[in-house]
Symmetry: C2
Subunit: 204 residues, 2 copies
DNA sequence: ATGCCTATATACCGCTCGGTATGAATAGCG
DNA sequence: CGCTATTCATACCGAGCGGTATATAGGCAT
């Protein structure tokens, strides 16, 4: 009886595809096209499965997107949380900018930022999608604000510059970086943008 | 014979709607929804005309969008060219930021920037749309770069900071401003973003 | 071997999309 | 008046959309 140690006993016919691999393929399609423009036909063909399999495994298109968004945050946005460990506010900003730059310069992944693309893509149908993305961004923002509050307590911030304002300023640059990256900017242009941002970053 | 002074003698049945008013309505729909998500049904209903009238007057959806984009640049982005008249690079930046902020805070117009929305919305179908928007942005960028070259010649820029890099930095902030404005940021948050940007703007 | 349960594949659903054929209405011109 | 030219309104087109009904294939326990 070795069935005890195994994860479970899947009773019916076993699934013929790897659900995580398929989700990764779906992520790439959403990333390239945005939520609305990614059709089920393109998704299923990229994932190598048929529509009923997709619906059985993921629910529907919106649920699939949310799971892809989870994967995106977990794998591609890991640098955002790890950046908070930097010893100074300036170090946090630099890590965030360099992390975002590295992502845009990666040749294997699509350009642009899935979050930025999805938030800007605002068909009336996709209102709930937009809300989900904005909500996720808000939690990242909150974490960054908390980190900058520590920095402020440590006396790192110039007077009259609130942690929240600095956070939104940095986010604006990151969003601009992703947008320009998705619009055909070259790697040198983007790294110049990062360099300029670091050059003007406030020092008390 | 007073037909000489008139523009022309339109022979057939006269058009029953004002083509410029209709274009303005179409612009609002594109602005709110982006190119792809703006359906012909919503467009015609907002414009108060039927589909055949729309096609006869504007060609097709893409041509309508381009004409709406013309109108948008002419009316809503006028501050971008007038900002170049500011006496210093810093003044140019301030005028651009304040102009963008004013647009986001206007209560009558949709939030966000039509250009930003349309460039980020990149279904494979809308590739040509995206290219048109990016091309227009490039010409604005070029104008700003030229203005900052003058500033550099006047000794306004810090060493090692090229006009092109400063332009893309400023554009990134403007894009971030539009994106946050389109994602539900409040007016005070956006004006804080502008204030922070001006606070860190390089002074030689 | 026989049910049982699940995944697969095909074919299909209603709906909306951008775009158009068609015929009636309305003007100028002879 | 008739003729021509243009716009208007209705109704329609093929195609693609997200999503599903149905039937078959394939592992498990009994």
């Amino acid at each position: 009886m070795n069935s005890v140690c195994s994860i479970s006993a899947p009773k019916g016919r076993p699934r013929e595809f790897d659900i995580d691999v398929a989700l990764g393929k779906a992520l790439l399609v959403f990333w390239r096209n945005g939520y609305e423009a990614a059709s089920m036909t393109e998704l299923t063909s990229a994932m190598g499965i048929t529509k009923p399999s997709l619906y059985a495994a993921f629910g529907n298109k919106e649920a699939l997107f949310n799971k892809a968004l989870d994967l995106y945050e977990r794998e591609k946005l890991a640098y955002m949380t790890s950046a908070l460990d930097a010893p100074s506010a300036r170090g946090v900003a630099e890590r965030l900018l360099r992390g975002a730059l590295e992502m845009q310069m990666s040749t294997c992944d699509p350009k642009g930022c899935l979050g930025v693309i999805s938030a800007a893509t605002c068909g009336a149908e996709a209102e709930t999608i937009k809300a989900a993305v904005v909500k996720r961004r808000a939690s990242s923002e909150a974490a960054l604000i908390r980190r900058f509050e520590e920095a402020q307590a440590a006396g790192e911030l110039p007077e009259g510059m609130t942690p929240a304002a600095l956070t939104r300023f940095l986010f604006a640059i990151l969003q601009g970086l992703a947008l320009q990256g998705g619009s055909g900017a070259t790697c040198t242009e983007l790294s110049e943008l990062v360099a300029t941002s670091m050059a003007v970053w406030p020092t008390k």
